[in-house]
């Protein structure tokens, strides 16, 4: 072995020493990284469990919303039945009143008779107004259906997230599938606003028979 080779060996040893020195510096960093991961894994598991738990509760929330819709429809039907009964009784009363009007004239003053007739009319109007106010049930049902749709979307996203974390545990996700009431359809913008602005817009469009495109409608509304 010549002196040249010996110099090469020393150079290699110096390189090796540098690697050891670098290793000595990097080992604590790796150790810190391992410690960090050791602490992070339970945290990730917690997050995963929380997501799984929340996702599993979503179908329950969705069913509750459907229950509310069905309950309000039932209650509304009962109210409509009662209003129908009231209207029926009022109609009977009105007939009796009209039939016995001449006889009552000798007992009551004209003012009293007029007042009674006015009261009957008011009760009829109030009954009609109650019926119309119950449109809120249909509108609320559509709003709840929109919320359910949103919940379904969140549930799907969470399911995908759990799949990613748990390496596609499909069986678990399948068990969390929502059973949404497909009979319910909805308008996401449904609102119970007793203003005639919306109707005016509809009337304007309907009155403009020649309008056939959105562009023309926008022109009408100066958009």
């Amino acid at each position: 072995m010549g002196s040249k080779n010996i110099v090469q060996v020393f150079n290699k040893l110096d390189d090796l020493k540098l690697v050891f020195n670098y290793g000595q510096k990097i080992i604590p960093i790796i150790q810190n990284l391992i410690d960090f991961m050791r602490e992070t894994v339970p945290l990730l598991e917690n997050i995963n469990n929380s997501i799984s738990e929340s996702t599993s509760k979503i179908p329950k929330a969705s069913h509750k919303i459907n229950d509310v819709t069905h309950a309000t429809e039932l209650a509304t039907t009962e109210i409509l039945d009662m209003v129908d009964n009231i209207s029926g009784e009022i109609s009977k009363l009105e007939k009796t009143y009209d039939g016995k009007f001449n006889e009552m004239k000798s007992i009551f003053t004209a003012e009293e008779l007029e007042g009674a007739k006015e009261s009957i009319k008011k009760i009829k109007d109030y009954s009609n107004n109650i019926t119309l106010s119950l449109q809120v049930q249909d509108i609320t049902a559509q709003q709840l259906a929109a919320v359910n749709h949103l919940i379904e979307s969140v549930q799907k996203k969470l399911g995908e997230l759990i799949n990613d974390i748990e390496d596609a545990d499909l069986d678990k996700i399948d068990r969390m599938n929502l059973e949404l009431d497909e009979k319910i359809t909805f308008d996401p913008n449904a609102s119970y606003i007793k203003k005639d602005d919306h109707q005016k817009v509809a009337d304007m469009i309907m009155d403009s028979n020649n309008l056939s495109s959105q562009e023309e409608v926008d022109k009408l509304f100066c958009k």
């Binding site: 509304t76 039907t77 119309l132 359809t185 308008d187 919306h198 469009i205 309008l211």
Partner: protein, 127 residues
């Protein structure tokens, strides 16, 4: 002309409210359908129906689909159709109008508005 209405809505509440409003307006002759398909069946079975009041959002065949089906059917295409719906955005109204709706009522409605729209349609048909 004796009017016979077909009230189409998947909501029992709304069918009853529309029916009550019709009764209060003096129209006693009406049948009900729960969605667009049911409405088409009722129309096929009863040729005396001559006025349709329909909701838009319904499962299966929607009100808009029903309207399009009516307008593309030789026997039914001239029937007056009044849409009663929560859908109040311009695009929807234009879609309904393009599909051939005769008039448009936005929920919640009052009997006055319903009466006005029915009368407007009848005036057009009687001309």
């Amino acid at each position: 002309m004796t009017l016979k209405f077909l009230v189409v809505d998947d909501s029992l509440t709304m069918r009853r409210i529309v029916a009550n409003s019709l009764k209060n307006l003096g129209y006693e002759n009406f049948v009900e359908a729960v969605d667009g398909s049911d409405a088409l069946n009722k129309l096929a079975a009863d040729s005396t129906i001559n006025f349709i009041i329909t909701d838009w959002n319904m499962p299966g065949l929607s009100g808009l689909d029903l309207l399009k089906a009516i307008r593309s059917n030789e026997k039914l295409k001239k029937l007056p159709v009044l849409m009663v719906t929560t859908r109040g955005v311009k695009e929807d109204i234009v879609d309904a109008m393009t599909a051939g709706v005769n008039n448009y009522v936005i929920k919640p409605f009052t009997p006055q508005v319903l009466k006005e729209k029915i009368n407007q349609i009848l005036e057009t048909y009687n001309r």
